[in-house]
Subunit: 458 residues, 2 copies
């Protein structure tokens, strides 16, 4: 440790009074708007009426609103945010020293809440609007469990019923995640289940199946539309989710502005895009308006490379094909990524907003291999203390690589990355890494061609 007094503290916390009072809607500053969702039956852009049986009314408005730049955060949501936000913007002094880099590394840490990730930012918003609409409860699906946990916490707070369909193999392999959700009063059903028609049908067809996210989505949607007073909610990909997650970037930018810091480089992991979209939102706004320039990098797993190796086309959001079609960078909704321990990044597509911004060249994308990701995760844990989630560690990997480039060139770049969560429920993955049993399978061109060739014809 250097003995000189640090000008910037290790952690910058905003005051409550400095916390954002409105979410920022980056679509308002996009000249080309993200392509609209299409109704799969008609092939036409979805209307509020199309979505009303599935989603809450206010969230549908947010989903379709491409014009309003700032949307007020209701006071009840701001109160909940105050329980676990502002999240700290951390200066990675110890990592910098370990790397011997002249770069200045910052990370926005979203893991200091019981859901263990940024997902809570949107969960509480979606639960609030459901409550405000007078609904009884909401349904959702969860794979690894972060989103289900976040939604359970949010529903417990507002006294809403919460039905979670959890992919059966995760339900069995991750009993602790399930138990956390039960602690918050959610009912957790392994999917496929006998509780829905689609579940029954799938079980009849494939009696031994351990489930999939696509199937769990289908069950959650069916449960919502067939039960009076219920709606379905989703934790990523959608425009509304990126809107809520803008709180990450708004806080990060306010904290940096307070100390006169401007990032040269902004890095985030990208699965469905909720974290990356939220982190970069206000920075991207400045870039879109031509006020400032930032290098922005999306990091995806080499095993599921939607931006770097996918196509930009209309596709189903879910493998069950019950949801609207979205235009996005996709590997095809039938693509099944190889075993990868960053469950939150195993999604075949990408948020329409981010897809459009990437297509127009406003951001870059890169992919990284799993063992390299865990190597970075371990280095980060040992220097910064925090045990990172495998998803977040994709961003850490690229941040470290960029900082090492600065070491070579002597450039004092300022790097900001998103540390989306903690890895406490991912120790099986860490164990495989320690034991040298982690695979780095990357899909072949043939693999990708196979699933991409089955995109819907629009």
């Amino acid at each position: 440790m250097s003995k000189e007094e640090k000008k910037v503290p290790y952690k910058i916390y905003l005051e409550e009074s400095e916390m954002p009072k409105a979410w920022y809607n980056v679509r308002a500053d996009m000249k080309v708007k993200p392509a609209p969702l299409l109704n799969p039956a008609t092939g036409k852009p979805v209307t509020e009426a199309d979505l009303a049986p599935v989603f809450c009314d206010e969230l549908i408005k947010q989903e379709l609103d491409n014009d309003t730049p700032y949307i007020e955060i209701p006071e009840e949501i701001r109160s909940f945010y105050k329980m676990y936000r502002p999240s700290p913007l951390v200066r990675a002094y110890c990592l910098e020293e370990k790397l011997g880099t002249p770069a200045k590394i910052y990370y926005k840490f979203e893991g200091n809440n019981t859901s263990g990730s940024h997902k809570l930012n949107s969960a509480i918003a979606q639960a609030y609007y459901a409550k405000k609409q007078g609904l009884k409860g909401v349904t959702t699906e969860t794979g690894a469990g972060q989103w289900g946990t976040a939604l359970s916490m949010a529903c417990a707070y507002f006294g809403l019923d919460c039905k979670v369909f959890m992919v059966k193999c995760s339900y069995e392999q991750k009993p602790f995640r399930r138990e956390v959700m039960r602690t918050y009063g959610a009912s957790v059903t392994p999917s496929p289940s006998m509780e829905t028609e689609i579940g029954k049908k799938i079980l009849q067809e494939f009696p031994g199946t351990t489930g999939s996210l696509g199937c769990a989505i289908s069950e959650a949607v069916e449960k919502a539309v067939t039960n009076e007073g219920y709606r379905y909610v989703l934790g990523s990909v959608l425009n509304q989710v990126l809107l809520h997650q803008s709180v990450i970037g708004l806080e990060a930018k306010a904290a940096m502005d307070k100390y006169g810091i401007t990032p040269d480089l902004i890095i985030g992991c990208a699965g469905g895009g909720s974290n990356l979209g939220g982190l970069i939102a206000p920075f991207m706004g400045e870039k879109l308006r031509g006020e400032k320039d930032y290098r922005i990098i999306a990091v995806e797993p080499a095993s599921c490379p939607s931006l770097t190796r996918g196509v930009y086309a209309y596709d189903f959001c879910d493998t069950g094909k019950v949801c609207p079609l979205a235009k996005m960078y996709t590997l095809g909704s039938g693509f099944i990524p190889s075993a990868n321990h960053a469950g939150g990044l195993r999604y075949h597509g990408m948020s329409s907003i981010l897809s459009e911004l990437y297509d127009e060249g406003y951001m870059e994308a890169t992919s990284v291999e799993q063992t390299k990701v865990f190597e970075a995760a371990e280095m980060f844990a040992r220097s910064e203390g925090i045990l990172p989630a495998p998803e977040s560690s994709h961003a850490i990997r690229v941040a470290i690589d960029e900082a090492l480039k600065c070491k070579e060139t002597g450039e004092e770049k300022t790097i900001l990355f998103g540390l989306t969560g903690t890895g406490y429920f991912d120790m099986v993955a860490y164990g495989k890494y320690h034991d040298g049993e982690m695979s780095d399978y990357i899909p072949t061109d043939e693999d990708l061609q196979e699933s991409i060739s089955k995109l819907p014809k629009i």
Copy 2:
């Protein structure tokens, strides 16, 4: 949620410049000092020379120093503290509302670091002094794993070797905890092991044993004294540990002073006493000096009630009887508490400092039953968001009970309690609670007489 602006924010964070620069040694203000440790061979107070083969030199000085009120926190430790401290002092607005109490409830939350508890505060100090002494590494034991994790993190930071003996049944039942320690580079050995003479002996005598904390301590001590460049470190009970943990209380008091808040009641869970001793330190100092009065309550599990049902006498600190004798409230070193999911509170004795303060009437003690504790834990999780550790939930239980008394009497008392950690690795316990499979066995008077009758004759 009330619509009025809150005068006190949800979370009070100190600025870096406001963080404590010295630990507070409550012994300096005690008229009757805690009884000295005794050398079991001679029956006389231990000397620095007695302890030198086992503990680091500087830590021995701190252990024996009953007079210096403030001991400077070395800059390297303060730098590390800045990575995860200050911990927030939280106003439990949501819990208050749920309870409908006029009481004002605050908690000092120590769980926002990867070790998941306050243990890191002393681990980093002990690792620092070991490094400064030029040692190669340290040894320790761990049961549930919090202390082992904290020490692994601290050793990774200073590049020290860390050998952890983990009670075999925990090693097998908690592979995730073990994996976290491996991530930080520690070697974790199930105890009893073939790595030590005492381990071999125990395995020969009891081939099927799943180990005990007492046995793990013995192995860790043997490993330290028989290996050049190693010392043994301990995470609770000792005076030095309470000294380091005073950072909890110092921060809490500084945060309260900043907003002109004075607690009427301070509540903490008590196992070996590290958290409670740290939380109350500066408040107890004022009480000892006659400057202020506070009601201070130690909460212990009904299954392991050392303060409320033990005797105040000299006893072994460990079941293996290799450590010095300490005068403390104890149930006898042979006492084996019934299954209780708050592993950190399953200790037969209590810090000598707290024992003396309790004996003199400076603090109260109460015990609570396990299912009542989990009921409070769940209520807390659902209103405040944080999933608490079973240990911490003992304090939550009593805080809630006191807040409910205020509801009856209309008193607006200010309650401060210590939320020592998170329960992410305790989901088996939560599951038993949800499934109604949790037992509330309380030792009978005969049980206690049995173990207390075997105290060493001093």
